[in-house]
């Protein structure tokens, strides 16, 4: 069994979470961006952040899944990259970090 589809799933998870985190930090830094992410008034900017994060994850999974469909990929670098992206996602959704960029 080729490991490409599995590697695609793991890496896509990291990509989705990193994009979600970066969007969250940008929303803190740029008030207009935060307002633009308010796709649901009761939920606020979290509505746009989460939908973008989930869409980024699914699109990344679809693209990587197609590219690596029948391929055997070097698993270790993929895992390392996924862990780095996950760390980016966790850091950029941590309030003491994104508050550093908060717009006044």
């Amino acid at each position: 069994m080729k490991n490409g589809p599995s590697a695609a799933a793991v890496l896509a998870g990291g990509i989705g979470l990193a994009i979600y985190g970066i969007v969250s930090t940008l929303a803190e830094a740029i008030a207009a961006f935060s307002k633009a992410l308010t796709w649901s008034k009761p939920v606020g900017a979290l509505s746009g952040k989460t939908i973008i994060g989930v869409l980024a994850w699914l699109v990344a999974w679809l693209i990587l899944g197609l590219v690596w469909k029948d391929r055997e990929v070097n698993y270790r670098p993929v895992i390392v990259l996924a862990v780095i992206l996950l760390a980016v996602g966790l850091l950029t959704t941590f309030p003491p970090f994104f508050d550093l960029f908060a717009a006044d």
Binding site: S6, A9, V10, G13, V43, G44, K49, I79, L90, P95
Partner: protein, 177 residues
Amino acid sequence: MAFSLREYWTAIHGMALGFGFILFFTASLALLLTLQPGFLTPKGIRTNVILLKISGLVTAILSWLAVIAGTWIVYPWYRATPPSGTTDLSGFPRAHLLATPPVSGWHSFGMEWKEHLGWVAPILVTVAAYLIFRYSEKLVEERKIVWTVFVILCIAFVASGIVGVLGAIITKEAPVI
């Protein structure tokens, strides 16, 4: 003692879905770690994998339901803005926390972290469930994949645990009523 609609939804979000997630996560982890050729007969492996698929899928479904209910149903009640001149902020948890300096950090740090971190778990658990379904009984031979699933589930569990504890503390300080 009667619960309000908001309290029911808060309980569904945190207790039914949240604790359900923890229960099925634990089952998934136990089934995953016992999935070794030396531990189980071929029939035992087949049974283990079926149960692992069920628990992995249920864990993923519960985590999605928990964050969707939390974000789209409970959170709007939490962050509702009180009409100007409102002095009783008991129905407006966010405003209540922010207006009370000793506990305002439970919003600015606690809730801010919880609302973001919560979405990490469903994505990770879905990836783990996919790997479980893709490899099925071949997981026995694929130790790298087993450890990948194990680590992904553990990260998701730690994230959910933090979210759950923050939710419990915030609800104690400023319940959604």
